[in-house]
Every structure is written in C-alpha cells, then in structure tokens.
C-alpha cells in the first residue's frame, strides 16, 4: 500500500513538475573534478650559473663549468662540468676530471674537501662533482680552483686555474668542530630550496687529515630535530640522516610552515656527541 502510494506520487511529480528531475540534476553535478598538469621539460642546467667556459690547454677539449648557486660559498658547492671535444658531436664523457682547490694564505696553503666529478652522476652526459670550501676569500687569503682534465681517448691532459671568490653565506652552510684530535666539517647539502612539507635532508661530513687531505667521514650517527625558534615548536615525523656514501648522510626534514627554522643536529661517535645547527629561512 505504502509502496504503491509512493510510486504514484513519483509519477505525479514527474508529470506535474519536475522536482524529481531537479534532484537528479543536483546529484549528477557531484563528483566532478578535473586535473591538468602537463609539466614542461626543462634542462636542469638552465637554473645553474656558468662559472667558466674555457678550452683546456694541451687538449682539444672545452670545459663549461656550472655552479648550482649564483656564487660559490663556504660550504658544499655542487659543480657540473660539460666537456665538448672538437670534431665530436654532443657531450664528451671519455675523460677524467680532478678538482684541486687551494687556499693561499701567504704563510701557508691548504686545500678543502672535494668530490671529483663523475660523468652522469647527476645529469646524463655531465660530470657531477663538488667542492666544500672551508673558509671565505678575503684578507686572510684567496682561493684558486684548479681543474685537471685528461682525455682518455688521446691521453692528452691539461688544466685550468680558476681564481674563485668564496663568499660567506648569510645563513651558515658549514659548521666545524673538533672531536678528540680530529677536526670535522659538516656541510648542508639539502634542501637547497626548502618547502613546507617533507624535504630531503642531506649533509656531508669531512675530516681534516692534513692540510691537503680532507677525506669524507662515515663514522657518525646523526640525530636531527628541526624547530622554529620564534615559536618554540618543531615538526613531526622527521627522519634522522644516515650514511649513504662518501660522507653523505640523508634523511627527511619536515617543515609545517613558512618562516625561520633551525635544524638541530647531534653528531655522535661512540660516547662523544657534538651539537650543531643550520638556519633555514623561506
């Protein structure tokens, strides 16, 4: 009885006025969404600054050296080097490149940690390497970055001497400390463009063995805690950096908002712990 009544009512409504139709129309508007994200391909090097573009004396090679930032600074500087060879089309990778940075302080000289460029490390066909400058250029002395290149095909080799100006960044990107008899240098690598959300976090640790030898150190256990000093709060679910290779430690740092953050790190070997921090503002 009730059911029959109900259907009759529906019928009446359909003919008389289309309420029912309106209801259906409302329902059909639901769950409509469209996403259109077509990222345009961009070459990663477009965002880099050219440090130098020179022919390598004694070879038929030309090197185009890119730096990640506008200027070189105290800390971890990623360098990308594109080699081209006269008569060979495209990028040339059959070569070896060695980086030799040197600080001349008049009475003494010292080098700094380096990661010699390897073809295809970050970008296909491009030699990716890094220099960790440990002090700025200035009254104390000046930096010379020597790049030695050997063409494996022809066995020819040559070098470039590039005088470079190393700046002290506004927010320190390298911290050093002594532990026992050793002096360590911790450099901030990532996030280079911090964003709210989950960020890859990466630091390198190097040890000063001699004035000329600055090997990577994989001996540390690192714990990390970001905080917003102005508010006194942190963020959840960070992942402590762990050693991946060559003194690189990788983890995840989470930022809940824009602003000034301090990333606190505690580096431990055995029973000795050193606390350092990096400031990040975005």
């Amino acid at each position: 009885m009730a059911v029959a009544a109900y259907f009759t009512i529906l019928k009446i409504m359909k003919t008389k006025i289309s309420i029912y139709f309106i209801c259906l129309a409302f329902l059909s508007i639901f769950f409509i969404s469209c996403d259109s994200n077509d990222p345009e391909p961009v070459s990663e090097l477009d965002n880099y600054t050219i440090l130098a573009e020179q022919q390598i004396p004694g070879t038929t090679l030309t090197a185009k050296i890119y730096q990640e930032n506008d200027s070189l600074f105290v800390g971890y500087n990623r360098l990308e080097i594109v080699l081209t060879k006269a008569g060979v089309k495209g990028d040339y990778t059959d070569a070896e490149i060695v980086l030799k940075p040197m600080m001349d302080m008049g009475t003494m000289k010292h080098a700094c940690p380096i990661e010699n460029p390897v073809a295809g490390k970050n970008i296909e066909g491009v030699f990716g390497g890094a220099v960790v400058f440990v002090m700025p250029s200035g009254d104390m002395g000046s930096w010379m970055l020597t790049i030695e290149v050997k063409d494996d095909e022809t066995e020819e080799s040559g070098k470039l001497d590039l005088p470079v100006i190393i700046k002290m960044p506004e927010e320190s990107r390298m911290k050093s400390f002594s532990m026992g008899t050793d002096k360590y240098f911790v450099s901030y690598v990532q996030p280079s463009e911090p964003l709210v959300g989950i960020n890859d976090f990466e630091v390198t640790v190097h040890k000063k063995a001699t004035m000329m030898e600055w090997p990577a150190s994989g001996d540390f256990t690192i714990s990390m805690e970001p905080e917003m000093p102005d508010m006194g709060h942190g963020s959840p679910n960070n992942v402590n950096p762990v050693l991946t290779a060559d003194g690189h430690y990788k983890g995840k740092v989470n930022f809940t908002m824009d602003g000034y953050w301090k990333i606190n790190l505690a580096l431990t070997i055995g029973d000795q712990t050193q606390a350092i921090d990096f400031d990040v503002t975005f």
Binding site: A5, I12, L27, F31, V196, I198, N237, N254, M257, D258
Partner: protein, 680 residues
C-alpha cells in the same frame, strides 16, 4: 545567597501553580508543535494582540521575541539549546551538547560556513531577530532535512514582506539602551505591499556595546562590539498563486572583542542572497513546492593589535557557499502525507595565518587550505496516519558528500603527518522512524529511532594548528577521518489539557566513530603557550543521554513556562564526554494586566558541572542562579502602537559563568535596559 532563595521560591511557586487545572481557555499551542519532532519558535513581533492564546510565545517574548534582543539572547533560552560563549557577541548554538560539525545551522535552509577558524562567527551571528521569522530546532539525527547530521538542525527562517491586505505600509522601529555595557541598539523595518503583485521589505539594525561590567563590578576587557545588519526582500506574486522572492542580508561587524581568546576581530562581513520560488497546488496529490537558489560569502579578519602579544599575527579567513534546494509537499488521500527534497551545495573555506616575529622573517601557513566541499542530497519523509489516534513517520536522506583540500601548500603542510590518502567522497545515509499515539485526547506519546551520519567538518579534517582557547590546545585535522555515526532513540510525552501543557523528551544517542581531538604527545604546539597538540580522531564509541521538559501553565492573567534541559555523556573509556553542559532551568512568568501592562520575570538556574574530562583540559563549573524582570506598557492608536519597556537582567548582580563559556569569563552583571518600540 539571595539568589539561592530566589530559586527556591521560584521552584516552590511552580509546584503550587502546577496543582490546579481550572477552567477552559485556549491553550499553549506551540510547544514543540507543527513539524515532526521539531520545535518551532515564532519570533515575529507579536506586538500584544490582546489575547494570549500562544502562551509559549508570550513567554518567549519576554526576551526572545523582542526584536531588540540579539539572536544570542533568543537562542539561549530555547529547550535543548545551550550557547557557547567566547565574548559578548556571536554565541554558538549547541543542541543537546552537540555543536559545530555535528549540527546543521542554516538560514532559511541555506547552508553557510562561518569564516573564522576559531569559531568566532557562528552563522547565527549574521542574522538579527529583526529579520527572523521563526527558529526551527530539530535536535538529534531526526533533523536531517537540510543535511546529514548526528546532532540535528537549527534553521533560522527569514522574514518576508508582509502581505497584509489591510495596510499597504507596515513596519516598526525601536531602540534599546543597556547599562552593563553602555550598549545601544536601534532597528527599523518597513514593508510595503501594493495590494496586487509586489511587496517589499527593508530593515536595518545597529548594535554597539562597550566593555561590559560583570557581576560584582569587574570590567571585562576586550568585550566590546559594533554591528550593522541590513536586509531587503522583495516578493512578486504570480497570478497562479506562486511567489517569487529575492532577499538579501548584509551583516557588517567590526572591532569585536573576544575576552576568552587571544585575538579580537577587526571585521566580520557577510552577504547572503537567496532567490526562492514557492507555489501551492490545488486539487492534486502534490500540494506545495518551495525552492531556492542561494549564495553567501563571509569575510573575517582577526586582529591582535589591541592585545599585549608576544608576536603579532594576521589571521584572515573567508568562505563562500552556493546551492539550491527544492522541496515538494504531498498528500495522498487522508492516510499519507510527506515531503521530498533535493538539495545541493558547494562551499569553499580558506584561512591563513601570518606571524611576525620581531627579528626574523614572517611565518606563514594555511589554517584552512582552500577546502572545497560538494554535497548533493535527496530527502524524503512520509507520514502514515494509521487511524484517528496513531501515526507513523519514516524519513530517509541519502547524501553524497565530498570535501578536499585544493591548495598544494596545504597538501604539503599535511604531508608531514604521513596520514595517507585523504578520505574521499562518501555516501551518507540518515534514516528515522517514528510512531505517535494520542491517548484519551490529552496525552500524546511519541517514540522514534534514528540513524545518522555526518562528515567531519572543515577544521576536523583539514584544520591546521587551530588554537582552542577553551582547553589551551592546538588542533590538527586528520584528512583520513571517517564519518561520525549515531544510533538514537527518543521518547516524547505530552500532556495538554485546558491550562496545562507538559512536554517531556528523553533521548539516548550511541555514537560510533565519534570525532574528538585526542592529545598527541609527539607533536609540539605551534601557538606560544599552548598545552600541546590534539589531533582529531574517530573514537570507537561515545554515548549521550538527556532530557528536556517544557511545562506551561496559564492561570488567569499569569502565564508560566518552565524549560529544563540536561545532558549526560561518556566516552568509550567511561570518561565524561567533554563540552557537556550541566542541567539548566529557565522559569518564565508573564503577568498581563489588561492588554497594555505586562510584567515578565525569569529565573535561570544551572547546576554545577563536575563531570568533566580533565584529559581534554576541562575544569569544573559552579552552579548559578540569576533572576531577570521586565515591565512593559503599550499604547495603541489604530494600527499603530508604542511600547515602552524597562528591564533588569541579573537583578542580584551575580558573578557567574556557564560551563560552555570559554575562559570562565563572568557574564554580564546587573543590566538595566530601557527600550522604545513603535510599530505601525
């Protein structure tokens, strides 16, 4: 102590008065009447029509129907409704202890979202009794006409132009002064009907208050406000009986203080537009259609420049909602009648926060990261009149409801919590079944059962570090929340005979997936000085039980109305459910001398609340009792009347607060009011 005596005397009074049930007079027609399980409150300014058939509304008029009262004053008095107070402005309604996303607050059936992440602007604050026709409160899962719910609905019906065929021009204007906050209020409204096709109504209200004086003399800083509300409504009558109505309400409030919060509000603005079409049908099974399309927008700006703060913050927010609905009423023979409704709305909510530390760069985050919601629903209610004494009613609502964050920054903000895939669209089901029987003409019993579901609201699902000054915690939404569900049972008994009307309702709600903020010790609070962070989560279950009663008596020239309400709640761990108000009683007396002199008295009392959830951050609230009185004199000439009234609220200058008041800030002390009201 004096107020304790007052309370005892008042209770004694009502006991004595409850005894006789004398001669025949028309009766209390409107206690919880017309609509199924709904309470309908007529707020129209019944400017003393002489007889007091509608005693409940006469009592309401004590405060409630006074167009000069604020909507806060109105709703606080109603059965089953408590108000959450954060300042001397914009109280938030709770139905049987349920609020915010658990209930649907609508204006003329229109969905609308307050634009403040700290709930400073419940949408009840954007209308004025000056443009309110009625309030329909339908507590519990039965109130799902305008949306899926577990807690019920609260609909404020807007006034339309008068279609009086006696007088083309009608209207009123008035003003009120309040001593406790040097408050000044003024309003006017006017309605014109060309006696053929067109009717227009214009109205405006202005309110301002300074910092108020609490009981005992303390001045509550940051409790001032200023507000202007303006409305226009035009009705076009069709030859076939149809009515097209276009209405607009604008509300503009500024420099509003919130003593319980760390910030004030520099501006809160709303625009509400609705276009409706109504048409009666004759002779068919289908007898009435009402439909509407609407849009509203709210802009809300918080401000801390008046406060001594560690760090300046900006917290603007805005919401927009557009939607439409159409309801058709039908009757099939004498046995079946009901309504069917289709509705849809889209809402968008955005709020951000920028903090300015003295020496480093500004900090920015999205507190409501562009949350967009699409809802479409279908509702049907059918009442079956089984025989002369019995009827059964069944209702069903199916609703598709989907909310999502449209901001990429918001998504990244939430990525740090590792919640996983956010809850997508859901089909929600609400259903109820009720049975009503009339015994011996005077006595009506009704039993109903209902099942309700509701989606988490914007803050519960996507709110980002929203500070609650009630418990001192930052709240973080959880994108993966499930809908809250509730099974409910309700029994209502009513006795009506001659001069007595008694209505008692008892209810029991069993919740599953109950949504509540749970302290998460692994998160550090963002707000300086906050106790910690709570993340919303679905609790296994929670229970709520309670009662309301409304007792009305009419003895000669005296009308008495007593409204009682109580709720009891517990969580799955047998802990008290937080934010549950204690027992509250409002006793109203109205004495009418002829048709021109009226004396009203009210005693409002609340027990202490000691069932508190300490883990939630609640504290005990003491009992209180206050008394109010008003004297009114009306002069008449033809259609026009002049009403003068003098009133004293909180006569004994009691220092008190209610359990749901934030910050335990005392309410207004003795408040002497004078008002003038002219209608024509």
């Amino acid at each position: 102590m004096i107020h304790m005596k007052t309370c005892l005397l008042s209770l004694l009074g009502i006991c004595l008065l409850a005894l006789p049930a004398g001669a025949q007079t028309p009766f209390l027609d409107s206690i919880g009447r017309p609509d199924y399980v709904a309470w309908e409150y007529q707020l129209d300014e019944v400017v003393v029509e002489g007889d007091h058939t509608d005693m409940y509304n006469t009592a309401l008029r004590y405060y409630k129907s006074d167009p000069l009262s604020s909507s806060d004053e109105v709703m606080e008095k109603l059965a089953g409704i408590w108000a959450i107070k954060r300042g001397n402005y914009a109280l938030e309604p709770t139905l049987r202890g349920l609020s915010a996303g658990q209930i649907n607050v609508t204006i003329d059936g229109m969905r609308m979202l307050g634009a403040c992440t700290d709930k400073m602007d419940p949408i009840t604050s954007y209308v004025e009794p000056n443009n309110l026709q009625e309030i329909h409160a339908r507590p519990g899962a039965n109130g799902f006409q305008s949306g899926s719910t577990v807690g019920g609905s609260f609909d404020m019906q807007i006034k339309r132009p008068s279609l009086s065929d006696e007088n083309p021009w009608t209207g009123s204007f008035g003003s009120r002064f309040l001593s406790a906050n040097n408050g000044l209020e003024a309003l006017f409204n006017t309605s014109y009907f060309d006696q053929k096709r067109l009717a227009i109504r214009l109205s405006a209200s202005y309110r301002k208050g300074e910092n108020y004086r609490a009981g005992g003399g303390e001045i509550i800083d940051n409790s001032s406000y200023n507000k202007v509300n303006y409305a226009a409504s035009a009705t076009l009558l069709q030859k076939d009986g149809g009515q097209i109505n276009l209405s607009y309400i604008g509300d503009n409030a500024w420099d509003i203080g919130y003593p319980a919060l760390v910030m004030d509000v520099s501006s809160a603005r709303a625009h509400i537009v609705g276009l409706s079409y109504d048409k009666p049908f004759h002779g068919g099974k289908f007898n009435y259609l009402t439909s509407k399309v609407y849009y509203n927008h709210v802009d809300h700006v918080m401000d801390d420049t008046g406060r001594d703060v560690v760090m300046h913050m900006d917290m603007p927010g805005n919401t927009s909602t557009f939607g439409a609905y159409a309801t058709g009423y039908y009757a099939f023979g004498d046995k079946f009648s009901g309504e069917m409704k289709g509705d849809f709305y889209h809402s968008a909510a955005y709020a951000e926060m920028t903090m300015y530390p003295d020496e480093s760069s500004p900090m920015f985050m999205l507190t409501w990261p562009d949350i967009q919601r699409n809802v479409a629903g279908y509702y049907n209610r059918t009442t079956w009149k089984i025989n002369k004494f019995s009827s059964a009613t069944g209702g069903l609502r199916l609703e598709a409801n989907k909310a999502a964050m449209k901001s990429e920054l918001g998504e990244r903000q939430f990525s740090v919590f590792n919640y996983g895939t956010p809850t997508g669209g859901k089909i929600l089901v609400n259903a109820n079944l009720g049975f009503e029987h009339i015994f011996r003409q005077y006595f009506t019993a009704r039993a109903s059962a209902a099942f309700g579901q509701r989606m988490p609201n914007e803050s519960e699902q996507f709110g980002f570090y929203l500070y609650s000054a009630y418990d001192g915690y930052d709240y973080v939404g959880k994108t993966t929340l499930d809908p809250e569900q509730s099974m409910q049972g309700e029994i209502a008994l009513r006795f009506e005979k001659d001069k007595i009307s008694i209505a008692i309702t008892g209810f029991y709600y069993h919740f599953t997936q109950y949504i509540m903020g749970i302290y998460d010790p692994s998160l550090s609070p963002m707000t300086i000085g906050a106790q910690g962070v709570k993340v919303y989560d679905n609790l296994d279950n929670a229970q709520l039980a309670g009662m309301e009663s409304q007792i009305g008596l009419s003895i000669g020239r005296l009308d008495i109305l007593n409204i009682s309400k109580a709720v009891y709640g517990k969580t799955v761990d047998d802990e008290p459910l937080p934010l549950i108000p204690p027992f509250k009683n409002n006793l109203n007396l109205a004495l009418h001398a002829g048709t021109s002199w009226h004396i009203y008295g009210e005693v409002e009392a609340s027990t202490a609340q000691r069932r508190i959830n300490e883990a939630f951050g609640e504290s005990d609230s003491p009992a209180y009792c206050i008394a109010n009185a008003r004297l009114e004199k009306t002069f008449r000439r033809g259609h026009a009347s002049l009403r003068l009234s003098a009133a004293v609220d909180n006569i004994f200058d009691t220092n008190y607060f209610e359990h749901l008041d934030w910050g335990n800030i005392p309410r207004m002390g003795r408040n002497i009011q004078f008002s003038v009201f002219v209608s024509y």
